[in-house]
Symmetry: C2
DNA sequence: TTCGATTTGTTCGTATGTATT
DNA sequence: TAATACATACGAACAAATCGA
């Protein structure tokens, strides 16, 4: 499937920004607006450059940045595509729980394991103060909440409590959510054209309450990890607010910091 | 201060890698080897390109990647410099504890606060199994261990237990560590030419033991965060193994995930 | 299997703009 | 102002991957 040229030709903007950034914005707008769904191919570089009245080098620089941000993917000999995020790489980009490494094995790579997912609930509700703050809504705006339990090696390890705007995900049903093939973020993208690009997390240690104890099968009061995550799309717009409660008796929550900003 | 040209001219390597990657490797080697210390300026682009017999565009592409990895910094009109990491940006890149946001204030930015640091100990020891695994040493290799307590707003919040290779940090003394002006990573860089580029972390929730209770002033058994961090330099070589114990009653451990790899 | 068309990847070079000193 | 250095923009030529005839 191909994206039409008309959709990105204008390039009226000036504002002092470099040309390649204006081009990048144009491309980004075309993607955000959902006119070109994930997986679709862009026209070839020469064609886009001609249509936008910029040199091919300038276009390539714009595309370079979008590739770096994982918005586009280039494949030599094939073309340039809007990134698809239903793959392993993406799963493990945001799902970061691993079995505790055994000192006897050093830091040998552990076999990556797919979590087993169970749906624990689905309801429509109104945003509270915390939801509103995290999702940039007003208190009382309609939201959808649902709960998942993730298991690794037959053990319940993570309880996710997820809140999203009902307006942003109009028509989402429990069945549709339960029947999804891939990750939740992949569903956001394929069914709603919403691409999760970043996530902010705040982590703390708390004592397991009654509900957590029940869901994860741990004694009440046991220390568990609580991760509050806000997932963001273009323009740092909040998409999802998620509270994950993690049993770290046998697993670790892993992350990789880099000098990026 | 300027870096000599001789130090990076060869460019003998081939191996099928693109030219700009070979150039990048050359530059990286020159920096790793410590021949050019952090803060120093590279020769100007035209000069380097000529010395390496590549076009200026190819050189710029190599430098682009190193800038992206925060190894180099470009300043228009001034030159290109080996990155210095003693600044705020760097501090908060790896120090990620913030006061718990108050729901009443929404997500207003909290005033960034510098932690107050106390030294709690310094000793020379031999690597155990865990140290050896994390630092890629042999058990029994000499190591240095030291402890810090970090306070925010007058409250003890973080206890760091740090282990480094005594061979890599030859001649490091308690006084030198205590008298440092800036962060520990800045000392690694300015005194030993070792630049920390990334860090891997494994986080879990545990109950405060007797020692943690004493150091952080919390009741024994209270859930606290335990972060195991391995700091890495060029070539993912381990530099430091650090276990941070964090009181998350009033603070959060924050991080930002992106779709980078 | 081979070949050719298509598309991105790499390398080169030049000209001009902008920030710094 | 002038010199220096990086930033932006253009475009040409060829290499390498992909795919279908």
């Amino acid at each position: 499937m191909k994206i039409e040229l008309m959709e990105l030709t204008p390039l009226t903007d000036a504002g002092g920004a470099p040309l390649y950034r204006q081009v990048k914005q144009q491309l980004q707008r075309a993607i955000e607006s959902g006119r070109c769904r994930p997986g679709h191919a862009l026209p070839n570089e020469a064609e886009i450059a001609r249509a936008m009245h910029v040199s091919i080098g300038t276009l390539r620089r714009a595309v370079d940045e979008l590739v770096h941000e994982h918005v586009l993917v280039r494949r030599q000999g094939k073309g340039t595509f809007v990134a698809l995020h239903g793959n392993d790489r993406f799963l493990f980009q945001f799902f970061h729980v691993e079995p505790r490494p055994d000192a006897r094995f050093g830091d040998l790579p552990q076999a990556a394991e797919y979590p087993h997912v169970e749906s624990l609930g689905f309801e429509r509700d109104r945003a509270g103060e915390v939801d509103a703050g995290a999702l940039r809504l007003k208190t009382g705006d309609p939201v959808i909440r649902f709960d998942n339990r993730l298991s690794l090696g037959g053990r319940a390890v993570v309880h996710d409590h997820i809140t999203i705007s009902a307006l942003m995900f109009k028509g989402l049903t429990e069945k549709r959510l339960r029947d999804r093939q891939s990750t939740i973020y992949s569903l956001y993208q394929t069914d709603y054209g919403i691409t999760v690009l970043h996530a902010q997390e705040r982590t703390r240690a708390v004592a397991a309450d009654r509900n957590t104890a029940r869901v994860l099968g741990v004694p009440m009061g046991q220390p568990v990890l609580e991760v509050h995550r806000t997932a963001l799309t273009f323009g740092d717009k909040p998409v999802e607010y998620r509270v994950s409660t993690i049993n770290t008796q046998l697993h670790d929550y892993v992350s990789m910091l880099s000098k990026r900003l």
